[in-house]
Amino acid sequence: MAKQTLHPDTWVDNYSDYLFNYAVTRVNDTEIAKDLVQETFFAGLKSADNFKGDAAERTWLISILKRKVIDHYRKINSRKAKSMIRITQNRNTDTDGDFLEQQVADPISLLENSEIENRELGMAIYECIGKLPKKQALAFTLKTINGLSTEEVCKELNINPSNLWVIIHRARTVLMDCLNTNWFKT
């Protein structure tokens, strides 16, 4: 495998959304997630000399972010009271929740599963977007994820509408194949 090199100038454009999604699904707070991503970029710059070039840039950044997320939880846990187990007993109702067993999530319910599945789906789609050529990826994200209008995207990318549709069409075709192999068959 060829040696990878770091290009910090392109980090924000290429990876910030990916890292942000990763962070936000783990800390459930956009502000904290934003800070974590920023810290990740700083830490990446600082330790750029330690980058051996074995992994792809994104993998390397994600591994830094992973540490940041763990550190974040460590910090809020040490700040809080030392007791780790907090049982909130619901005294408002007469019968429901009197027994701890009744507070456990319903094992038959599929709602929680679909929530987790959706998070993973988001990451899977981002990974597929990462494989697209730059221009296609940008056009697709702006149009689909950011929901901009056609004119706005055209202005941003400096192309005409029929060009934009061809680009988006190509992006979608690749994405369909990519998701087919990565998401539905694993």
Binding site: P8, W11, V12, D13, S16, D17, F20, N21, V24, T30, K34, V37, Q38, F41, F42, L45, N118, L121, G122, I125, T141, K143, T144, I145, N146, T150, W165, V166, I168, H169, R172, T173, L175, M176, L179, W183
Partner: protein, 75 residues
């Protein structure tokens, strides 16, 4: 007669609700006779559903600019 390449692009436009009436009629007629495009249209629609399910969150452009500036000042 509309060829498949054009129809596929119209199909993509439909996913964003930006096809015109004439385009919609053209694609309807074409889908009746073309099996390949029918499959494509189904897959395309599915991709839209997946994207909706994923609840993407993106950083606002302003925040990205700020991050770039912060990174630049460190360099």
């Amino acid at each position: 007669m509309s060829n498949c390449k054009e129809v596929e692009i119209i199909c993509t436009k439909i996913q964003y609700r930006e096809a015109t009436i004439t385009e919609k009629i053209r694609i309807r007629v074409h889908l009746l006779i073309c099996h390949t495009c029918r499959t494509f249209s189904k897959k395309n629609h599915k991709l839209s559903l997946l994207c909706k399910d994923a609840h993407f969150r993106t950083l606002p452009l302003a925040d990205k600019e700020k991050m770039k500036k912060n990174l630049g000042s460190m360099n």
